[in-house]
Amino acid sequence: MTPPPKNKKAAKTPTVEQQIRRRTLSSFSVFFFSLTIGGLLFYKLYNQPQSADNVQPVLRKGLNANERIFSRLFSQKRNARSFKKKDAVAHVRVNGGVGMDGTLDTATWRLRIARKPGDTLQLTLSELMALPKTEVVFDFKCVEGWSQVTWWGGVRFSDFMAKYGLTPQMAARYVGMETPDGDYYVGNDMPSMLQPQTLLCYEMNGKPLPQDQGAPLRLIIPVKYGIKHLKRIGVIFFSSERPKDYWAEQGYDYYAGL
């Protein structure tokens, strides 16, 4: 409690009434001024013209800053929690068909790996299946907010890289992937690609990958949201710059790491 004001001292001392008025006025001025500034800043941010990647540039900077923070915390040793095969759902949700027009003939399909400009390695599915198989049963998470325990099989991306002598390419910051028709495309950072649960996947629930899940080969990258798990891989390439990314262009976070 404040001691009672000693306003008998000098004539110049403002009366309590004056003090109340003065302090109320100044406090509310600051209050409304700050409120206006805050409101204007938000209005400006909300109405900031969106860049080509469909988000306000300031918010894109925010997403990228978050990436810098959380990619530093990322560890390849931290696995997505493993589940038992019997916990995997029988009906796996199909949530996207961009780049998936028509049926793809596995016999004529080739995985094209652009090792260097003008140097493309072509592989058949059986060549990939000859590599050691790895299976993951994990909680697949969609950016929309749902998740499903699903079971996938394929070759570990890191095993594939090692087996095909792509160690120099591991120094690249990013791995880009595209569907054969080029309609869907993703970019993933190398540390996430080399995480031991990341698969070039050709099996689901112990059976060959269905067409609508990206046969003959799709990406399974448990440390990312579903938007990064490209179905029906046509091309793989390496880059020091961010490869173009379908959903990042629609205003989503490029990193999308979990």
């Binding site: 409690m1 404040t2 009672p4 004001p5 309590v16 009434e17 003090q19 109340i20 302090r23 109320t24 406090s27 509310f28 209050f31 700050s34 409120l35 805050g38 938000f42 469909n54 988000v55 306000q56 300031v58 918010l59 894109r60 925010g62 997403l63 978050n66 959380f70 915390l73 990322f74 560890s75 931290r78 696995n79 997505a80 929690r81 909680d139 998470k141 969609c142 950016v143 929309e144 907010g145 749902w146 998740s147 448990p222 440390v223 959903w247 629609q250 205003g251 989503y252 976070d253 790491g257 979990l258």
Partner: protein
């Protein structure tokens, strides 16, 4: 009757309060934009739904549908302001000693009932209090705990693999999402009660959250006795 100025809210607390209010509003709004993409929660049993979160009319009125990416961009931008403001507030209350007025003590839980009964005009007198009454102490401490809960469940949903221990602590990914959602409903309830209480308590109480002081009226004896706790009518809110 004479008036005097009685200090109530420190400047820092007023800033924390008025920054938190719009920031939390933005977090809830952007959260709604995100939740919409998988809006599965409801209150009910079997096929009977009492309340769907959220009805179409609610979503349409707030322009919620089809703004998932906008929601995420805003949510993951303003989360830092929510977190830092909350953290600084907690640190401030600890180091300034304000926690003594805010934390419930061993009488608070019993007294809070008496406060509620008094507020509902069932009981004539309210128990003696300091800056905040027992119900306020519980409410204002709960809201901080809820804020921490939102941060913890939020991180668990945001980075469920890098912070798997947090996700496990929350009971898993889907549980964390539900908890995050329920906490948000909690803020809505808190807000409604808070607004009603502030309106009932009146202008003098409200303006103190801006100016920092309350105007106290007192009778004028030559020597003013040191006010006794049980003779001061401190408005609630």
């Amino acid at each position: 009757m004479k008036k005097r100025i009685v200090k109530k809210h420190p400047l820092a607390i007023r800033w924390f309060h008025w920054i938190n209010f719009p920031v939390l509003t933005i977090m809830i709004w952007s959260g709604l934009l995100i939740y919409w993409a998988n809006d599965i929660y409801r209150l009910g049993w079997g096929d009977t739904t009492v309340i769907k979160f959220f009805p179409k009319s609610f979503n349409d009125a707030l322009h919620i549908p089809f703004h998932l990416s906008t929601g995420m961009a805003f949510h993951f931008f303003f989360m830092w302001f929510f977190f830092l403001n909350g953290l600084l507030y907690v640190l401030y209350t600890i180091f300034s000693g304000e926690w003594k007025y805010l934390l419930p003590n061993r009488h608070s839980f019993k007294e809070a009932w008496l406060v509620v009964l008094h507020d509902l005009h069932i009981r004539k007198t309210a128990p003696p209090q300091d800056k905040y009454n027992a119900a306020q102490r519980i409410a204002y401490t709960s809201i901080v705990v809820m804020g921490m809960g939102s941060v913890i469940t939020g991180v668990a949903i945001y980075k469920p693999i890098q912070f798997q221990w947090l996700c496990t602590l929350c009971g898993g990914y889907e549980a964390a999402r539900i908890e995050h959602f329920i906490l948000t409903l909690g803020y809505a309830v808190f807000f409604l009660v808070h607004i009603v209480q502030v309106m009932i308590a009146g202008w003098n109480n409200f303006q103190a959250m801006v100016t920092g002081f309350e105007v106290e009226k007192y009778n004028e004896p030559e020597t003013i006795p040191e006010p006794q706790p049980d003779t001061i009518e401190t408005p609630k809110a």
